[in-house]
């Protein structure tokens, strides 16, 4: 990519508009820079991208398949379309699937009003879920002195897993089980409160987009997140301050 030690600059089209970008940027980065809205849930600036929620899928001219904006880097001459009826339909359907998967009861959730899932469903015009609710039985892990994990509200974005591994360096979190049985676990599936590797930093709580992770003692609609620390931290690291 580098030309004479410099990163190449490319020009491309987003929704018909010409934009320029560094060749190592992702479609998502370029779109956000240009104030083009693309919904995301697993992505968080400062963490690695995994392309798991599939909400950021976009159309690229000449490509039969839809591409995830968060993990696809831009190319010279790329023509990207971020909003079509088809994409809107898929995105709504994916959100409906998330809502149907576990027990999301916004009205009594700690994150009511601060929830990215709730925000996105409103933004994309979802007023009811057509996919049947599955109503699985999940427990709540309240063994940690400061934090609570409620699997009923988890959307498996794995931001907690990544922030703990990539930023805090503790790797308390991981995923256990396959498919619809998958869930986040602490240490080797031990109660969070007994996790010796947990530094109690609370980064996982603050990056959780929903109400699955919350500060203990918070009541309905009190779980305001403070994820601002992440870009700040990553920038400081990059600049080695």
């Amino acid at each position: 990519m580098p030309v004479n030690g410099q990163i190449k600059i490319v020009t491309l089209k987003v929704n018909g508009k010409d934009v320029s970008a560094r060749a190592d940027q992702t479609i998502l980065q370029v779109c956000r820079e240009n104030e083009v809205f693309i919904p995301t849930l697993c992505h968080l600036e400062g963490l690695s991208n995994i392309g798991a929620c599939r909400l950021c899928m976009v159309e690229v001219a000449g490509q039969k398949k839809l591409l995830p904006a968060c993990t696809t880097t831009v190319n010279e001459g790329m023509e990207i379309t971020t909003t079509t009826d088809r994409l809107g339909h898929y995105r709504r359907m994916i959100l409906e699937l998330i809502f149907s998967e576990r027990n999301h009861t916004c009205s009594v959730c700690v994150s009511n009003n601060y929830c990215e899932l709730q925000f996105l469903s409103q933004k994309l015009g979802i007023d009811h879920i057509r996919v049947p609710y599955r109503f699985p039985k999940f427990n709540v892990d309240a063994s940690h002195p400061y934090f609570v994990l409620d699997h009923n509200r988890c959307i498996l974005c794995t931001r907690c897993v990544r922030v703990c591994d990539e930023i805090e360096g503790a790797h308390v979190w991981d995923v256990s089980g396959r498919g619809i049985q998958a869930r986040v676990i602490t240490e080797l599936n031990q109660p969070w409160g007994s996790a010796e590797t947990c530094t109690q930093c609370g980064k996982c709580v603050n990056v959780c987009p929903v109400g699955a992770l919350s500060d203990k003692g918070r009541s309905v609609a009190e779980n305001k997140k403070r994820s601002e620390f992440l870009p700040y931290l990553t920038q400081r690291r990059r600049e080695k301050i």
Binding site: N103, H128, P132, Y133, F135
Partner: protein
């Protein structure tokens, strides 16, 4: 001719009806244009044959709810699901991961201090195995999410319906609002 409006209340807390009443004096403007033919707010005992708009609050949780909503759908031109319980079964559905017998037993026997026995009376409807949103049982035409939806939202939605438009509520309300 005035539009025939009905409201009903399945498994919910009546908060949506309260919010409806919270529109205060604006209710007079609506009252001029509608005829309230069936509602917990008035005293009609039977559901009329033909209703233009029925507003439903609450989820479908019992056999009684199920029969009621099916009958209402048959006699309603436009069915509105009002509030989260009607739309996503909300708090009533939190019992869904647990078997019904276990819940009843917990409520009436295990936790009872006196008269620890299961309620048995022909007038008491059986609970369904799981609480369902209204649209899983019958077709719903308009959804007004919120817990409860604000009085402004309800007023806007009803006014739009009376003007013959489907209300666009995207920026007005959401689940849990």
């Amino acid at each position: 001719m005035k539009a025939k409006i009905a409201t009903t209340w399945l498994d919910g807390c009546s908060g949506c009806h309260m919010s409806f009443l919270d529109m205060d004096e604006r209710i007079l403007a609506i009252a001029d244009r509608i005829e309230l033919v069936y509602s917990p707010l008035v005293d009609f005992k039977t559901f009329p044959d033909q209703v233009d708009v029925t507003i439903v609050e609450g989820a479908v949780a019992s056999v009684d709810d199920l029969n009621k909503i099916k009958k209402i759908r048959k006699h309603t031109r436009f069915l509105v699901a009002l509030g989260d319980c009607a739309i996503n079964a909300n708090v009533p559905s939190m019992r869904n991961p647990i078997p019904v017998e276990q819940i009843i037993n917990r409520a009436y026997v295990e936790n009872a201090v006196i008269h620890d026995e299961l309620p048995k009376h022909p007038a008491l409807p059986d609970l369904l195995a799981r609480v369902m949103p209204v649209h899983e049982v019958v077709k719903v035409d308009v959804f007004i999410p919120g817990c409860p939806p604000s009085n402004d939202t309800i007023f806007y939605a009803v006014a739009e319906l009376l003007d013959g438009r489907i209300p666009d509520l995207t920026d007005k309300t959401r689940f849990g609002a």
